[in-house]
Symmetry: C2
Subunit: 237 residues, 2 copies
């Protein structure tokens, strides 16, 4: 079992040194990215403890020592992977939420629009030609459902965003108790995680009527499904 450290240290003081010498050479920058890509892919399928730095280095086509040189201890590499795309994604989702709210102002948007803002940026990322986003989402699924990583890591990278969305959901149902809002969000979050995980299980169960990597089909149904659930629980009657 890996312990979750509070702070990280690396061989060189990555952030600062990088900036001091102007910018990193394009060659080394590309290697950094390749390490992150490889780590992303392997962590996503096998988890933190199921992957060795040597496997990551091999997939990235670099020496093992380079992983430590660039990112410090294994845990810090893990954190760097989570951070890289997290910031981009969170901005896209927040922008989508802001648009939805602006559109309906001064009234709150429909719950469908809020859920859509939460999901669609993922779909765009996942359907892109770059496999990296799919790996990243699968990694999030792993972390989100893990008792060990869930609190520390997901909280660290996603709490701010999630609070924006739960607040928006609350505005959709101003009379609903916060408890209900959070349990409904919980249902959405869980279904989303399983979709991310892309386990291929729905393919087998449905005898290929559904494909687990068909994210568009998943979200097309998930949005009205979850909206109906929210209304049932939070709609109040």
């Amino acid at each position: 079992m890996a312990e979750v450290a509070e702070d990280f240290s690396s061989r060189k003081d990555a952030e600062t040194t990088q900036g001091k010498a102007g910018e990193a050479s394009p060659k080394s920058q590309e290697r950094r990215e390749r390490i992150l890509d490889a780590a992303e892919e392997l962590f996503a399928t096998s988890g933190f403890d199921g992957v060795t730095l040597r496997q990551i280095a091999k997939l990235a086509g670099v020496d093992v020592a380079l992983t430590s040189y660039y990112f410090g201890p294994k845990l810090q590499l893990f954190d760097a992977v989570l951070k890289r795309r997290g910031e981009i994604l969170n901005r896209a989702r927040l922008d989508a939420l802001r648009s939805a709210e602006a559109e309906s102002a001064p009234n709150p948007p429909s719950i469908e629009r809020v859920i859509e803002a939460f999901l669609r940026p993922l779909e765009i990322a996942q359907e892109s030609e770059d496999r990296g986003w799919r790996n990243y989402c699968a990694l999030i699924a792993y972390v989100n459902n893990s008792p060990v990583w869930g609190k520390k890591m997901i909280g660290k990278h996603f709490d701010k965003l999630v609070r924006e969305f739960t607040a928006a959901m609350q505005r959709c149902f101003p009379e609903a108790p916060a408890r209900d809002i959070f349990w409904c969000y919980h249902n959405l979050s869980g279904a989303l995680s399983l979709t991310f995980a892309d386990t291929g299980r729905i393919d087998i169960l449905s005898e290929n009527a559904c494909q687990s990597h068909d994210f568009k089909s998943a979200y097309d149904r998930m949005i009205p499904f979850m909206a109906a659930g929210f209304r049932e629980i939070c709609g109040g009657h």
Copy 2:
């Protein structure tokens, strides 16, 4: 990364030898259970690769070698943990489904009743004084969301049951395309997994308005929530 072996072998031919000499001594039987309990707990929180046999043995209060003696390789111990409670649970859920169907015959039961049959046996298990069931459910959450274990292990232990339930759901909505039924089941399964995982995240997000181990509250809301979702997607108009 661990490979998922097709078949398992142990030092002694566990099943058969056990039976031959009449029954195992109560002392050794108790130790077997303690090993399974410890493995269940640790696997649930840290995953297959995040736990060592030495940690399991220590928690169980036995020698490391005993884990191999009783269960063979690590992977077979993992499988034994999944099997132990899986059979009990699946029977309870199937019984609940059969009761619901008998009650409404010759009509199909409401989707609420089907979902209830899927969830409530878990609640009973999880709310019992024995922490073992909670650990087991958390382990299922881990396995269900894992691309590596999801297909092999969950399929092996749960496919038969899940097919019973998806078939029952289809009978609730005979006009709905199978595709829709399976995506709806997928949403239910994902939300359930996250509940199992008991990550404590909802506690933090909701500032303790919700507790992640309050399974009754979770299911009380999950049943109408998911039923409304099913109706929205599969209800047809």
